[in-house]
Symmetry: C2
Subunit: 161 residues, 2 copies
Amino acid sequence: MDEPSPIRPTDHEARALARSLITTARFAALAVLTPGSGAPAVTRIALGLDAAGLPLTLISSLSAHTKALQASPRAGLLVGEPGPKGDPLTHPRLSLDTLAEFVDRTSPDHAALRTLWLASHPKSKLYIDFADFSFVRLRPLGAALNGGFGRAFVLAPEDLA
Amino acid sequence: MDEPSPIRPTDHEARALARSLITTARFAALAVLTPGSGAPAVTRIALGLDAAGLPLTLISSLSAHTKALQASPRAGLLVGEPGPKGDPLTHPRLSLDTLAEFVDRTSPDHAALRTLWLASHPKSKLYIDFADFSFVRLRPLGAALNGGFGRAFVLAPEDLA
């Protein structure tokens, strides 16, 4: 191909922006593979962080995305929400390639995450103890950062830590 | 499975809400399959409508999502953005299962879409005529509407027209 590469060398600023997009996200778009058809599907999930700073969500086994992750744990994640004004495509966003890891509801890990999650998502107390809800870590395998038109970076897991 | 179905019967209100989420979206999250790995990936795209009201985007062949759609046209689309306040998961959103159809840049179809797009996305005049940008229709094959906690619907293409 003769196309120029739009990817810039990863620098400190790119790493800091990516980390900031993860830590400030209250929600995210989650991409999964639909069981059976294999079609990519995208839904909204709540987002938080575990004690190590890894992306964390709380999802119900009644939802299609949970069944999809149970069948195939590779998941895309998009964070970085545009404000109400301006061109939404100039707003920085991060597309993460992740592996979903379900947390056993009877484990000490679950109990610790429950405390952390309630602090950052107090309204979840309405459903956090329902039997169909589980925490899922979304462990980054890599990411693409788009800092706005023409400002693209490819990041490794160590760039996101 | 003994789980209760969270899906409600589709009614007029659900159809109107889904249609409204599509027509008011300025941008969307797009889920595609990564060529090679097959991993689901999610990025942000600009969104508009063609003359028939079908979801339309304008994307660059330099971007990973465009290369992915060229390799595999099945695409997920998420519209319905939460405001800055309240629980983002109570905000209605629509997850569309779509088929991406690229529009030839030399066709009369492209010329007509260009006029429509510039009216709704005036800032795109900076790049709309770059040779790497193409219009892509995202033709709905079906959709899942989440109207907020416990308000889920499954919609057919005819429910979205």
